[in-house]
Symmetry: C2
Subunit: 290 residues, 2 copies
DNA sequence: TAATTTTCCTGACATTGGTCAGATAATTTC
DNA sequence: GAAATTATCTGACCAATGTCAGGAAAATTA
C-alpha cells in the first residue's frame, strides 16, 4: 500500500497510543490503579484545588472523591478547606506522597531519557515532538503575565535574540540594541506575556511604558508553534492591556528582513510611520491609535 | 521553568495521550465498549487468527473469547477453525461487520483530515509524525519479501530515485541507469525486501541474480527511519538470502557522493574492487565473499 | 497408541471505572 | 435573613476489564 497523508497520521496515532499504553502499564508497577496514580501526579504537578484536578483529568465528582479518600487513607496527601472559599477543598502531598510522586516522575524521566539516548538525532526528534504537541494542543495554549526577568521569560528572550542574530544580515547583539529596562515591562508601566502550551513556553510579547504612549517589544513565537495565529492573539492581549493602562497610542519597530512581522502589523491595522528612535537594528516603524 | 529535553518529551507524551484519549472516546459514540471496537478494528485491518489478535491487543484469552462472542452475537463476525490447524480459530467480518468497521475508519480518517487541514505546514507535520513513529516503533519494524513491481516496492523505489536525483551532482535518471529487470529480483534469481513500520514502508533493498554471482541493488532507507540500523539489517537479510540461493560472491556499486553508504559497506566487511559495469552513475564498487 | 502440548472456550470472581441521586456545608443573591 | 447556588462527599449500582482455574478438541511427541 502506498502511504497517504491520512495513513501516515493514523500510523503515528497507533504507534503513539501503543507506546503510551506501555507507559501507563509501567505505572501499575507501583501497586496503585491508574486513576489514583493520575490524581497523585496532578497534585504533584501543582494542581491543588479538587475542582481543578477533576477538570484536568475529566473525572466525575464521585470518583474524584473516592480516589482522594483512597490516597488520603494511604497517607499520601491531606485535604483541607480552601481558606478563601471553604466550600472548595485543596489537596496537598504529604512527605510520603511527595516521595511517591517523585518515584513516578523518575519512571517517566527514565523512559524519556532512554528514548533520547536511543535516537541518533535528538535535536530533530525533540523539534518534531514540539511541533506535534503544539499542533495537537493548540486549544490548550495559555497566556501568562510574568516578570520579564522570570526564568520562562528569559528563556523566550534568549531564543528571540538567537533568531534575530540568525535572520538579520547584520547579526544582532542585545547590548547594541535599546534593550528596554525590564522594569518598564511590568505593571503599572507595561507588561510582559508568555504563551505556554502545557507548561512549555512557546512565545512572548512585551509592552513597554513611555509615560503617555506604549511600545510593543519582543514579540516572538517558537518555530514549532508558528501558523497557529499566536502572534495575533499576543497583539490582541497587548492592545487590551494597553487600553487598561490608559495608553491611547502604541508604537513598535521591526525590520524589513522579517517580512512576516511587517505583514502581520499591516494586517492588524497598524500604520507605518517615521523612525521614532535611534536603535541600530529596526528599519520599519509602526503606530496604532487605540 | 526552562524546558529541558526531558520536559519536552514528557509534554509531548501528555499532549498525545490526552489527544488519543479523546479519539478513543469518540469510538464510544457507536455504542460499543472500547475493547470490542478494538477487536473489530484489528480484524478489519487483516489480523484474522484469534491468537494474533490477542497478541496484537495484549488481551487475556478469556477476555478475547468473550469479546469475540459478543461481536458474533451482534452478527458482525463469524469464527471458524483454521483449515491448516483446527485448534486455531480465525475470525472474519460479515457484511454488517465490514460496514461497522468502515464507520470506525471514517471516524478516524475525518479526525486525521481535520488535523491536517488545521495546520499551516502539513508537510512538516507529517514528516515529524513519521520521524516520531519510527523512533517509538523501532521494535515493531517488519521485513517483507515482495515483488519489486508491487505498489509498496514501487513507492520506495520512486523515493530512492528522487533522493539520488537530489544528492548526485549529475542528477539521476532511471532510464540512463542500468535498471535491473524486475524479474531478476524475484526468486529463484534474486529477491526484493521492503521494511514496514506498522504498515508504512520505510526502506527497501534488492538482490539481483547474475547466474553465478549476486548484486545488491536499490538499498534505501526513508529519512525518518535513519539511524535505526535499518541498512545493516537489510544487508544481513540480503546476505542470508544470497547464501540460500547458492551465491558465494556478492557485488554492488555506489557513489562517492553518498559517503554514509560507502562507510556502511566498509564497516560490514566489503572490499573495494574495480569497476565491473558501465553504468554511468556509480564510481565506487564493492565485493564480498560469503 | 498414549501422553503431552497447544489453542481456544467457559465460568467464577475481584477490581476498576463511570454514573446518579441525594446529603451537607459554605457562599452568594435577593 | 431566606432562598438559591456552588463545591464536595456518600452510598448505591452497573458495565467493563482483568485474572484464574479448569475443560474440550486438535495436534504433536514419545
Amino acid at each position: 500500500m502506498r502511504p497517504t497523508d491520512i495513513s501516515r497520521i493514523r500510523r503515528f496515532h497507533r504507534t503513539v497510543t501503543r507506546e503510551s499504553g506501555v507507559l501507563d502499564q509501567s505505572f501499575l508497577g507501583r501497586g496503585r490503579p491508574l486513576g489514583a496514580a493520575r490524581v497523585l501526579n496532578a497534585i504533584g504537578r501543582g494542581i491543588s484545588e479538587v475542582g481543578a484536578i477533576r477538570d484536568y483529568l475529566g473525572l466525575d465528582s464521585g470518583q474524584m472523591s473516592r480516589l482522594l479518600r483512597g490516597l488520603e487513607d494511604e497517607g499520601l496527601l491531606v485535604t483541607r478547606p480552601d481558606p478563601a472559599d471553604a466550600r472548595r477543598r485543596v489537596a496537598e502531598l504529604t512527605a510520603r506522597g511527595q516521595t511517591e510522586f517523585d518515584a513516578y516522575e523518575t519512571l517517566s524521566n527514565t523512559r524519556a531519557q532512554r528514548l533520547l539516548c536511543n535516537h541518533p538525532n535528538a535535536t530533530a526528534l525533540l523539534d518534531a515532538m514540539d511541533l506535534i504537541a503544539s499542533a495537537l494542543g493548540q486549544h490548550a495554549i495559555t497566556f501568562e503575565e510574568v516578570d520579564p526577568r522570570d526564568d520562562t521569560a528569559v528563556w523566550c528572550l534568549e531564543n528571540y535574540y538567537g533568531e534575530l542574530a540568525q535572520r538579520l544580515r547584520t547579526g544582532f547583539e542585545v547590548h547594541l540594541s535599546k534593550d528596554p529596562e525590564a522594569t518598564t515591562m511590568i505593571r503599572p508601566q507595561g507588561t510582559f506575556y508568555v504563551a505556554l502550551s502545557d507548561g512549555l513556553p512557546i512565545g512572548c510579547c512585551g509592552l513597554k511604558g513611555h509615560g503617555d504612549w506604549g511600545e510593543v517589544k519582543r514579540l516572538w513565537v517558537a518555530p514549532s508553534a508558528r501558523g497557529l495565529k499566536l502572534a495575533t492573539r499576543f497583539m490582541e492581549r497587548i492592545e487590551a492591556t494597553a487600553r487598561d493602562l490608559g495608553h491611547t497610542v502604541l508604537r513598535l519597530d521591526t525590520n524589513s528582513q522579517l517580512p512576516e512581522a511587517v505583514a502581520l502589523y499591516h494586517r492588524l491595522g497598524w500604520t507605518e510611520i517615521d523612525r521614532f528612535n535611534d536603535d541600530p537594528y529596526p528599519d520599519v516603524f509602526f503606530e496604532k491609535h487605540l
